[in-house]
Structure formats: C-alpha cells, structure tokens
C-alpha cells in the first residue's frame, strides 16, 4: 500500500518536473531573442566551455578511435575486409559514437559545472541580488549559458570525431602500413552529407538538453550546501538520460528520411 503511494507521488513529481522544464525551455526561447543581447557573457561562456572540455573530449575521442579499430581489426581480417576499415570506422564514429560520447563527456563536465555554479549563486542569494537590481538574471545567466552549450557542442563533436579518426588511422598505419592520405581518402569517400548533417543537428539538441537541464537544476537549487551538490549531480544524471532519449528519437527521424 505504502509502496504504491510512493510510486504515485514519485510519478506526480516526475510530471511536475517535466512541466517545469518545458516552461523553463519556453522561457529560454523567449529571452534569448530579446534585446539587448548579453554578448560579452555569451562569448565568455563559449570560451570557458570549449576550454574546459577540449582536452577531455580529445582524449576520449582518441581512445575510442584507437580501441574501436584495434577490436574490429581481427574480425575484418578474418573476412579479408581490412580495407573497409576506414569507411566502417568513420561512419560509426560520425553517425553515432562521436556525438553521443562527446555529449556524455560534456554532460559530466559542462552540465555539472553549470548546475554547481548557478546552484551556489542561488544559495548565496546572488541570483536574488540580480533580480532585485532589476537586471533579469534569467537572461544574463541562463540564456547565455544554454546558447553557448548549444552552439559549442556540435563544434566539440566535430573535434572529437576528427581526433577519433586520427586514433584509428594510427592503428591502421602501425598495423597495416596504411598511409595518411590513403586512409583519409577512404574516409571522405565513405562519408556522405547524409551522415554529417543528421549528426550535427542531433548534436545541437544534445547541447540544448545539457544546457537546459544544467541551468534548470542550478537555477532552482534548494537552500543549503547539499542543495548545490544535488543540483550538480541530478543535472548530470537527468541530462545523460535525456541524451539517450534524444539519440533514440534522432535515429527514428533519420531513418524516415533515409527511406524517402
């Protein structure tokens, strides 16, 4: 009986949160197009986000490319299809692995950072102080950050993809003596516009999800120090979950377009 009631109240809370996040997203779209633009803060956020996650995205991408190639190599050898390696690796990285891995890394790095930063600003009443001085903190803090992640994530994904392909090339070069030119010729032969465009669009949505969830959790942070930790933590958990849901939807939508 108690279990049932708990599930019910959790379900209600879940729907309340969905509603609040939708409202938060709507408010973002209203504020982001309103003048005056907070250009300076927006650029500062872009720089910081890029700067903070570039190394992490690079390392992760490199290892993924390396591992993917090393592990597929024996199987392809068995079928005498090693020459397919560049096309296979590039398609799987560009379409799926690159975007999702980069987005997950950024959810951990950028999403939690935003959650903690805005959360501590909320707890120490800095957001209230902006509000009472009539300076619209939502526009200054939330709109700039969400827009910055949304635009930076596709760039980070491209960067991650490139590094991953480079990692894959290194393996091919060491194990199979494939030259740089040959490898990347094959990569660009295999890749189509139809691979890159959906992946890039998907990456925008990944960025939007990370930004919205991080800002929502931080902006509505509960009082107390544990509130800040919780805001950062739930920002990562919820945005990671959302990333997979968006990915799932994106696959369906892309599939429809391929069929046309």
């Amino acid at each position: 009986m108690i279990g049932l009631r708990q599930i019910k109240s959790q379900l209600i809370n879940f729907f309340i949160e969905v509603g609040e996040i939708s409202y938060f997203t709507k408010r973002f779209f209203i504020e982001v197009f309103k003048r005056p633009f907070e250009t300076k803060e927006f650029l500062r956020q872009c720089y910081q986000m890029g700067n903070r996650s570039l190394l992490l995205v690079g390392i992760t991408g490199f290892i993924i490319g390396l591992v993917l190639t090393l592990q597929t190599r024996p199987t392809l050898m068995e079928f005498g299809a090693v020459s397919w390696m560049p096309s296979m690796v590039s398609i799987s990285i560009v379409r799926e692995i690159g975007p999702i891995i980069t987005a997950l890394v950024c959810a951990g790095r950028i999403g939690s950072g935003i959650g903690a930063e805005l959360g501590s600003m909320r707890v120490t009443e800095q957001i209230d102080a902006m509000e009472v001085s009539g300076t619209n903190p939502f526009k200054y803090l939330v709109a700039t950050r969400v827009l910055a992640v949304t635009l930076m994530l596709p760039l980070l994904v491209l960067f991650g993809d490139a590094i991953a392909l480079f990692g894959s090339y290194l393996v091919e070069n060491l194990k199979g003596n494939v030259s740089f030119l040959l490898y990347f010729n094959k990569v660009f032969d295999a890749l189509e516009f139809g691979d890159i465009l959906p992946a890039t669009i998907k990456s925008f949505f990944f960025g939007l999800a990370i930004g919205i969830v991080g800002c929502y959790k931080g902006y509505n942070c509960k009082k107390g120090t544990e509130g800040v930790g919780k805001a950062a933590n739930t920002a990562v958990v919820l945005s990671s979950l959302l990333l997979f849901i968006i990915d799932f939807i994106a696959v369906f939508v892309t599939d429809i377009f391929y069929d046309l």
């Binding site: 209230d128 009472v132 009539g134 300076t135």
Partner: protein, 253 residues
C-alpha cells in the same frame, strides 16, 4: 531623535497590510502589518526563523505572498508587470544577509552590474567609473576596486555590498541583518556607515535584525515580528519597558 508626531505627518513610502505567506504546512506570516515613513529608520526585530527575510522578500517581489497588500511608493507591487517592477526596483536598495556579491566578478564589475539595465534612470551616457568611485568612497574602500570578492574579509564584503546598493541612488534601503556574522567592532562600523548614508542621501531605511545594540543605535521606531504578526510597535525605550514576556525576551541579556 524624531518623535512620533513628527513622523506621522510624513509620507508613507512602504506599506504592508495583512501579509500572509506559508510554505506548505509552515505558516510563516499570519497577517503582518507595517508602514515605513519618508526618511525614517524602522527596525524589525524577530527570532531567527520568524519570517523576517520572507517578509522583506515579499516586499520586493522575490517571493509571492499568499495574500495581503504591499505598496511601495504608491505602487501596488502585486499588480506590476515585470518591466514596471524592474524600474521600481531601481529605487529600492537591498542589502542581503550574506552580502551576495557576485563571486566571479571584481568589485568594480560588481558595482557596475546594476547600472547596465538602468539607463532610464541615469540617461544613456552614464559615467560608470565616476559612480563606482563615488559609491566606494562612501564606504571607504576605493582601494579594493580591482579585488575579487574572495579576497575580501566579511566586513569588507558587507561594505562593498552596501556600495553596490548605493550606486543606484535608492530612495529606500532594505537591510537584511546588516551586522550578522560580523565581530562587534566591524558591526559598529557598519552601523555608523548606515547612519552616514541616511544623513547624506535622506533615504528611508527598513532594518531587519536580532541584534539589540544595533536596534538601539539606529532605530527611530521598532516593530517586533512574533508569531508571524506585528506583535508590538514603538520606540526602543517604549518596547524595552513593556511587561509582555514575549517582548521582554528580546531585551534581557
């Protein structure tokens, strides 16, 4: 000291009638009333957790009250739209309990921040630099202009926060526990500063505190916030003489 009759003839700049606010089952304010007259220093005293901060936040629209009437300089703030509210807020200074300096900005940027949206009040071409310096001179901390908040002591933070409120040249200043968390000497300095500002700019002040010494020095009039209502009102001496046990509890050491 201003006497009661003198005060009664002046304009009311802030008025709260029958303010009610609860969080779930927690009834914090159950019909609170107050008036703040032009140029006066009104102290509101109450135990911690009695709803002083909640009251002051309802006053500036940071929290939405459940019911009640709040008038700020002839405006009913519950009926204002966002833009009108923001314009009105330029005339109200708010000093937060924990100073609330923006910790990613320097002192200068902290002070310039409120100016960015209020070109209406100061005209398009404001000399931000001059305003910043003037505000810092008022609190005696011009030398701290390029420091980060993390490099300041608690007392300095409070002064910078005060400078940030002053830069808007507010007509009313709301102080939420201006001396809490400070040592007695620094607290005294802050109180002197508040009196200086009152004299220099003729602002009206609403001071929230549970510090009896602060209340004695600075108050023209006091209201005790007990059980969510304006339990008692009067000058410091009048309240200190009352026989009510709940009132007495504030004044014995």
């Amino acid at each position: 000291m201003t006497t009661k009759t003198q005060i009664a003839n002046r304009d009311i700049v802030l008025q709260i009638k029958d303010l009610r606010k609860s969080f779930g089952d927690n009834d914090v304010l159950n019909g609170f009333n107050m008036e703040l007259y032009q140029g006066e220093s009104l102290v509101i005293m109450g135990k911690s957790g009695s709803g002083k901060s909640v009251m002051i936040k309802c006053l500036v629209g940071l929290l939405e009250s459940d019911s009640g009437y709040i008038r700020v300089m002839k405006n009913d703030i519950t009926k204002l739209d966002q833009e009108a509210l923001d314009i009105l807020r330029a005339d109200i200074g708010f000093l937060f309990q924990g100073s609330a300096l923006y910790d990613s900005m320097t002192v200068r940027e902290n002070l310039e921040f409120p100016l960015r949206r209020h070109t209406k009040k100061f005209g398009e071409h404001i000399d931000a630099e001059a305003l910043v310096i003037e505000a810092l001179e008022n609190v005696g901390l011009v030398s701290a202009i390029d420091l980060m908040p993390s490099e300041l002591s608690g007392g300095m933070k409070r002064r910078i926060a005060l400078a940030r409120t002053l830069i808007m040249k507010p007509k009313i200043i709301l102080y939420d526990e201006p001396t809490s968390g400070l040592d007695p000497i620094t607290a005294k300095e802050i109180i002197l500063l508040m009196q200086d500002i009152q004299r220099k700019y003729g602002t009206s002040s609403l001071i929230i505190t549970h510090d009896v010494d602060c209340a004695r020095v600075i108050s023209d009039r006091m209201i005790l916030l007990i059980d969510g209502i304006d339990y008692a009102m009067g000058t410091f001496n009048e309240l200190a003489k009352m026989d009510d046990p709940k009132v007495k509890a504030f004044f014995k050491h």
